[in-house]
């Protein structure tokens, strides 16, 4: 055990920091759940990509730097430290990209990865359906083979970034007689295809964050299937694995929120009830614990270890931490907590309210926390399924 950074890791941090100091936009971009903000974020992604910083863990040939997972954590720490913009193409770069890297053909890698890294093409994900939420194996949307095409019918919903994205990846039933997790295929669908209708859904804050997507005889070439036909479940599970979780929700995100929460408390401590002090400090400790556990796990992976169902532990931990931090912030803000940023009396409320509304989704998306607790109980603790 040696919890110090190597000179190489320190040099990497310095390089990331220097680049971000020069390039990070001085003012926050508009929300990427608006058309204008979506395009602003795509321009930022293109700039990141031009500097070679879009996806540092990717191999050099796809626009990355071949960084290891520790360097990835360092990159993320610097990225959040710099308050750089949110990643509009996170479904692509964090989830689909690694999946294509693992299961894709050479043609698919060359076709999709570079344009993903530059956010030339932004991705939405298509897992949930009206009748397949927590029970994802209940998927009904079909992709029926017609020689060199799949004909897609059905409906996907809660597709994050779906309102403005260019492509969707998702699971479709390619064997119409199949049940549950059998007979599914993992297919990439251009959202401007004939037969595809995108209907944006406003989320709790009124912004069009996700969409429901209808497929009516949409035709997709078989080359857009990732992995074998009927093996889609296995491919999708890889997308949900630990490393992808580490990409999507690295500790730096929560440590930044925790540090902002401490600042907010310091500025407002005089007007706070005494119990808030304890809550704020507790939140900060939990964010540190999340970072420590992530470093520990990454070091185990780098030493050749494997991570399985334990990944379910982290989903519960970060989602509940994020909610607790935002709840504490709103308590500190007191009567101003309900104000939107444009309210004249809203000085200092920052984006805590919007962050709170988003944090409320954390225990629901990416597998509800109830499902995660079942996974921990059955697959980590070994309790009986029935």
């Amino acid at each position: 055990m040696d919890l110090t950074y190597t000179p190489k890791q320190q040099a990497f941090r310095a390089e990331v920091r220097a680049w971000l100091e020069r390039h990070t936009p001085a003012r926050p971009l508009a929300s990427f759940d608006t058309r204008q903000g979506f395009e602003e974020h795509r321009r930022w992604e293109a700039e990141l990509d031009a500097g070679g910083w879009s996806m540092v863990p990717w191999p050099v040939e796809y626009g990355g730097r071949g960084a290891d997972l520790l360097e990835w954590l360092i990159f993320e720490e610097e990225y959040y430290r710099a308050s750089a913009p949110g990643r509009v193409n996170q479904n692509g770069i964090f989830l689909l990209g690694p999946t294509i890297m693992e299961y894709g053909t050479p043609e698919q890698k060359a076709r999709f990865l570079p344009r993903m890294a530059s956010s030339d093409e932004v991705w939405a994900q298509g897992w949930s359906e009206p009748n397949a939420g927590s029970d994802m194996a209940a998927i009904q949307a079909t992709a029926i083979r017609d020689t060199d095409h799949y004909v897609i019918n059905g409906q996907k919903t809660w597709a994050s970034r779906g309102a403005y994205a260019h492509w969707l990846f998702g699971l479709f039933r390619s064997d119409p007689g199949s049940e549950r997790h059998h007979g599914l295929s993992f297919i990439l669908v251009p959202l401007d295809s004939p037969g595809v209708t995108v209907r944006p859904i406003e989320k709790l804050n009124g912004k069009a964050a996700f969409a429901e997507i209808f497929f009516d005889d949409a035709r997709v070439p078989v080359e857009h299937r990732v992995g074998e036909e009927g093996q889609g479940w296995k491919v999708a599970m890889a997308t949900a694995s630990f490393e992808r979780g580490l990409m999507l929700r690295s500790p730096a995100r929560f440590q930044r929120t925790a540090a902002r929460l401490v600042d907010l408390y310091r500025e407002n401590a005089g007007g706070c009830e005494p119990s808030l002090r304890e809550k704020v400090v507790e939140c900060w400790m939990r964010a540190e614990a999340y970072a420590l556990e992530t470093y520990r796990t990454v070091c185990r992976l780098l030493a050749g270890g494997r991570i399985g169902a334990e990944a379910s532990l982290n989903k519960i931990f970060w989602s509940e931490l994020d909610l607790a931090m935002h709840e504490a912030a709103l308590e500190i803000l007191g009567v101003r907590a309900e104000l939107l940023p444009e309210a004249p009396a809203a000085e200092g409320v920052d984006d805590w309210l919007d962050g709170y509304l988003f944090a409320l989704a954390g225990p629901i998306y990416a597998g509800t926390n109830e499902i995660q607790r079942n996974v921990i109980a059955e697959r980590v603790l070994g309790l009986p399924r029935k």
Partner: protein
Amino acid sequence: MDFTFNEDQELFQSTLREFLARECTPEAIRARWSEDAAHSPELWRKLAELGIPGLLVPEADEGMGLDEIDAVLLFEEAGRAALPEPLIATAAVASRMLAEIGDRALADRWLKRIAVGEAIVAVADPVSPFVTDADVAHLLLLAHADEVHAVDPADARRVPQPGNDPSRRLFSVSFVPGEGTRVAEGEPGRKLWADALDRGALAAAAQQIGVADRLIETSCAYAEQRHQFGKPIGSFQAVKHLLADCKVKLEYARPVVHRAAHSVARGAADRPLHVSMAKLAASQAAGSAARVALQVHGAIGYTWEQDLHLWMRRAWSLEQAWGRDAFHRARVAEAVLAEEARLGPGETFGGGA
């Protein structure tokens, strides 16, 4: 950056685990409870053969010359077995203190005897009025303001204070401080007591991790075996989710404790903060595991006859040892809310400096 233990460290851990599973059974612990002292000279002698009391004693003094990173997994095992021995004071605190007091004659007199298992040392917990295991100690390290006094137990008045955990024997100890007993004062004395607190709290936190692990394991086994409504109670989501939450708390406390061990071993500047974070996280993990374990066991867990309370009592009494939660919470708050605190992404290992 390497946050893993090496093969030697893991091998030592599994050796101790197997040893304690054999030697420190619930029956053996209950036998100690009915005795005058929780400490068993025979078990202590066997532990000394493994090198446990002298883990941190320098090799020159016949100890193992290891550090807190090596020791932390072993203290976890002591917790897993609910070992009722004076491990924290003698092995984690006194051996370091005696080497650091700077009195070579004192060190010569005691370190070797600790390493070979012949001497037990009781150390005053700087934030508690009680001294643990003062009855079986051969030497008492006691405080008088900032001073450290090495006191012959025969010269101290030791009044038993029976408590909730018969594995933790508490005493009020009074003595007459004098030139003959004083071994450190002033700034060195303050530093010795501050270090003693951090080392004791780290060892207690590691034991709490082991206690939590064992309570979860025992409860899962019981939930699988106990049937109601024609099914194992562990198949009900209400039970599953209680245990899953305990597991989450435990796994996010473990690395906090391991990092604290690293900070103590390396003498890091943030050591008091890291130790307090560790003690709090481990205390919460053990406390909630105890609460849930009792709930999962139901009425049988509420009996004296069932062994569950051997670990529940450890969870409760270790919370009291080397700084209660309120003490450590205040210490963390002071550090985190300080003007000069460096918080946020990249600061966990001082990377942003």
